[in-house]
């Protein structure tokens, strides 16, 4: 047995350390922020400028959209109760998203990060270490909420002609709100780590699926609200189904009340709600730090030590599928594709997100006729079909930016090994492109077919949509693979951070621009033609034109050719850029 502890507690080795409190960690954060910004200012002004510009465009777009939206809604003389429903739902959604995202960041950063592993060996108290990582994740979340929430609240304040106190309270309101779900999410993450240290990704994946099923069920119920849309009875039924969002114990409702009361001049009540949110956030943070002090170290030890030692099942079938799908590629390239596919299927963070979002879309498309009563009208059918195509393409663009773009950066750490293989460097890039395009084609074309068949579209139009979707799949895959090779980040091992960096953001912007041009070129002639066919359709009279079917076909062919041309450019230019960068890369 270990002998008794030294009796001289006054000379305890940790005494000097305890006296320093959290000052060293504050010093660390200040220096890291200063050096990061300084470095960015010195070497990445273009990057900083592009990021600031993108943020401004996003913020301004949101502001204009919501200002217009509120002005439109105001025409119907809606009561404050309706606004309370809207804000309660908005903040409830934000609450859930913030809780989940902060929980994931804390889980990954605190229990599996290299920094926390090092700090765990240093004389840093566990609650201070937690507070350090919490501050980091809240700074990220707070920035996002400010970017998303401030234009909404500013637009509402202007519409409601709110006083100065309302506008002054916007930032404190949002900041207080961020802390509450963050603290709850972090506590839950620590609890999961403590109680279920094995296969954490699977547990998080299951939680995500359960959350999405709940959300899916909620949306499903909303769509099934009885009564004719926009009638008073229908509205009553709809509000009845949303009543849960106004539960007095939900922080989202406190936020909604604070916003509305402050905007309408009930300053005292509004500030009382703000104080309630702040006090609860502070309490939740105290609970989280208390929990961290008690269980962070054992949780960390479990997370480090209780790794699953299960043997992986044979995945030879992946190589067989790669051989079947890509018989025209050399065997080494097919092996590289199989390696990428194995990494994809063994990481639940990747396949679960893919499955959840594409699965939800598939469920929606398969039931699309239940959700809309206007699908007999050609113009609406055309509109919904392009909307579905655009949503699928947008999802694909985020997927390629999040998972395909970082692939070359992640490979870069071991690229010297690939460089020694009997392969041309270009083959590595083409292999990644083939993998991304095959996965994208399979998922997107399946979704599109479900949607178009459910909508009862003409086979000719289905063929046009399928061709357009193929163009989008090839283009998006090439953009992500090409720019991934051109703008790699070999220092970072976390794919989400690579995707969130300059290269990833640029990749997303380029992908969205590509979608806008490629889809617009086909969607526009279709819409003009069908709006002309159905001049009774509300809101489309100004678009009415009298193209004959032949004229429509000619214009559609021109539009599709333009999309294909843009698609070819989207494949050739980024891939060439990527190939050049890869050929010149020194390892």
């Amino acid at each position: 047995m270990i002998g008794k502890l030294p009796e001289d507690h006054a000379n305890s080795p940790a005494k000097a350390v305890a006296e320093t409190g959290s000052m060293p960690l504050k010093f660390l954060r200040r220096r890291l922020l200063r050096n990061t910004l300084g470095d960015l200012w010195k070497h990445g002004r273009l990057r900083l400028g592009v990021a600031a510009f993108c943020c401004f465009v996003f913020w301004a777009g949101m502001f204009v959209l919501f200002l217009g939206g509120f002005a439109f809604v105001e025409q119907f003389k809606l009561t404050a109760e309706i606004y309370e429903y809207l804000f309660s739902l908005f903040f409830l959604t934000l609450f859930v998203m913030l809780g989940v995202s902060t929980g994931i960041i804390i889980y990954a950063g605190l229990l599996h990060g290299r920094e926390s592993a090092w700090l765990m060996t240093q004389p840093v108290r566990e609650d201070m270490l937690f507070a350090h990582k919490f501050a980091e994740s809240i700074a990220f979340a707070g920035w996002g909420v400010l970017l998303l929430g401030s234009p909404v609240l500013l637009a509402y304040g202007l519409m409601a002609r709110a006083g100065a106190i309302y506008f002054l309270a916007i930032v404190p309101l949002l900041m207080a709100f961020v802390g509450l779900p963050g603290a709850i999410g972090s506590t839950v993450a620590l609890g999961i780590g403590y109680l279920m240290p094995r296969r954490p990704k699977t547990i998080l994946g299951v939680l995500a699926v359960v959350s999405l099923v709940v959300i899916g069920r909620f949306v499903w119920n909303l769509f099934r609200t009885p009564g004719t849309a926009l009638t008073p009875d229908w509205m009553d039924n709809l509000l009845g189904r949303l009543a849960f969002s106004r539960h007095p114990l939900l922080p989202s409702r406190w936020m909604a009340r604070a916003v509305i009361d402050l905007a309408q001049g009930s300053t005292k009540t509004g500030l009382a709600y703000l104080a309630t949110i702040g006090a609860n956030a502070a309490m939740a943070w105290l609970v989280a730090t208390f929990v961290a002090r008690r269980i962070l170290r054992p949780t960390f030890c479990r997370a480090q030590g209780e790794r699953s030692g299960r043997r992986r099942r044979s995945t030879a079938w992946i190589e067989r599928i790669a051989g079947f799908c890509f018989p025209f590629l050399d065997r080494p390239v097919r092996l590289l594709i199989a390696k990428d596919a194995r990494s994809f299927f063994r990481d639940p963070a990747q396949w679960s997100q893919f499955l959840i979002f594409f699965g939800l879309l598939a469920a929606y498309f398969a039931n699309i006729r239940r959700f809309s009563t206007n699908l007999e009208s050609p113009v609406w059918r055309n509109l919904v079909s392009f909307l579905n195509l655009s949503v699928t393409a947008l999802l694909l663009a985020t997927f390629t930016s999040r998972f395909i773009f970082p692939m070359m950066s992640l490979e870069g750490r071991n690229a010297w090994m690939l460089n020694l293989l009997p392969l041309k460097r270009s083959q590595i890039l083409w292999g990644k492109f083939a993998f991304a395009a095959a996965l994208a084609l399979f998922a997107s074309e399946s979704l599109l077919l479900i949607s178009d068949i459910q909508l009862g579209l003409d086979p000719g139009l289905i063929a046009v949509h399928a061709t357009l979707m193929a163009v989008l799949c090839f283009g998006l895959s090439a953009i992500s693979v090409g720019l991934g090779a051109r703008l790699p980040n070999y220092r970072e091992s976390d794919p989400s951070k690579i995707a969130a960096g300059f290269g990833g953001t640029l990749n997303l912007v380029v992908s969205l621009l590509f979608l806008l041009v490629a889809i617009g070129a086909v969607a526009l002639p279709c819409h003009i033609y069908f709006a002309g066919l159905d001049s009774r359709a509300e809101g489309f009279r100004r678009m009415t034109t009298s193209w004959t079917e032949d004229q429509f076909r000619t214009r559609l062919a021109i539009g599709l050719s333009l999309s294909i041309a843009v698609g070819v450019a989207a494949v050739v230019v980024p891939i060439r850029l990527g190939l050049k960068a890869l050929e010149e890369q020194e390892f």
């Binding site: 047995m1 270990i2 002998g3 008794k4 502890l5 030294p6 001289d8 000379n11 305890s12 080795p13 940790a14 005494k15 000097a16 350390v17 305890a18 006296e19 320093t20 000052m23 060293p24 010093f27 660390l28 220096r31 890291l32 050096n35 990061t36 470095d39 290299r114 920094e115 592993a117 090092w118 765990m120 060996t121 240093q122 004389p123 840093v124 108290r125 170290r297 054992p298 960390f300 030890c301 479990r302 480090q304 030590g305 209780e306 790794r307 699953s308 030692g309 220092r491």
Partner: protein
């Protein structure tokens, strides 16, 4: 403020590291099996063993990064992982961590602040180790631009700047050039002679042979040999090098016996 430097120095020979019947299991696999080990103040202990023998797991338990399944570990009498134990220890892992966006000087300053050192004492110690490890040339650059060897030297400086009573190092010579390796070897001996208990996990048997006061060999989670090199030789009636002794002790395991592994390769072909 009480600085670490003002604390009582451990007496030479005082027990600073103690493993008491420590076992660590990962699921069904036993990584460390009933480990009993002590390292005293002023002693340089070399921890040897083949890959996967349990060296790093033992070190991680000592530093409070893993919890033993059974048994106890103490540092200077304090249970491993507690604030008091962590205040006495310095750990240099095989893959050291540095903040990319701090300069070397800022990193050293952060470490001395964390240990609550008196600023003047911290400045003097920093200068001392900056000179010893010859890192002044790049000390004001961001760590992200450092080579492996530069990082390793800075990490050694940061480990020693706060005057630890126990120094734990895992594979200390990875990435060091011969000059830096010599500095590190000399530093280990100096630290031990000044009363620090040094536990060094290492694969380079010649260095262990040169430096260590005591050698422990761990194999399949069990400490199969512990003592001075001369004592081990005497016990095992062995007169050869430490390498021969090591291979004799871990005999039967093709992973550590190159002769057997070669024989197996020649008989069966590559795996």
């Amino acid at each position: 403020m009480t600085s670490m430097g003002e604390m009582r120095q451990p007496r030479q020979g005082h027990e600073m590291i103690r493993f008491d019947a420590v076992t660590k299991r990962f699921g069904t696999k036993t990584a460390v099996d009933g480990l009993d080990l002590t390292v005293r103040a002023g002693e340089l202990f070399a921890f040897l063993g083949p890959n996967g023998a349990g060296k790093t797991t033992s070190i991680k338990m000592l530093c409070g990064l893993l919890k033993p399944t059974s048994g106890q570990i103490a540092i200077g009498g304090y249970p491993a992982g507690t604030a008091d134990a962590r205040a006495m220890i310095a750990y240099v892992p095989d893959q050291p961590f540095l903040y990319d966006k701090l300069t070397g000087r800022e990193f050293l300053s952060f470490v001395t602040r964390m240990y609550g050192m008196d600023p003047d004492r911290a400045a003097a110690r920093t200068e001392e180790f900056v000179r010893l490890f010859e890192i002044e040339g790049f000390l004001d650059e961001l760590c992200e631009g450092y080579s492996q060897g530069m990082k390793q030297r800075l990490v050694f400086a940061s480990a020693l700047v706060h005057e630890p009573k126990v120094l734990v190092v895992d594979e200390p010579f990875v990435g060091l050039d011969p000059r830096s390796a010599r500095i590190v070897k000399r530093m280990f001996v100096e630290q031990a002679r000044s009363g620090v208990a040094v536990l060094m996990s290492i694969h380079l048997l010649s260095i262990a042979e040169d430096l260590a006061d005591r050698i422990g060999i761990i194999h399949k989670g069990r400490l199969i040999a512990d003592g001075k090199l001369s004592e081990l030789r005497q016990t095992l009636s062995h007169s050869g090098s430490l390498e021969d002794l090591f291979l004799q002790l871990t005999d039967g395991d093709p992973a550590t016996d190159p002769e057997k592994a070669l024989e197996t390769f020649e008989e069966q072909g590559p795996p």
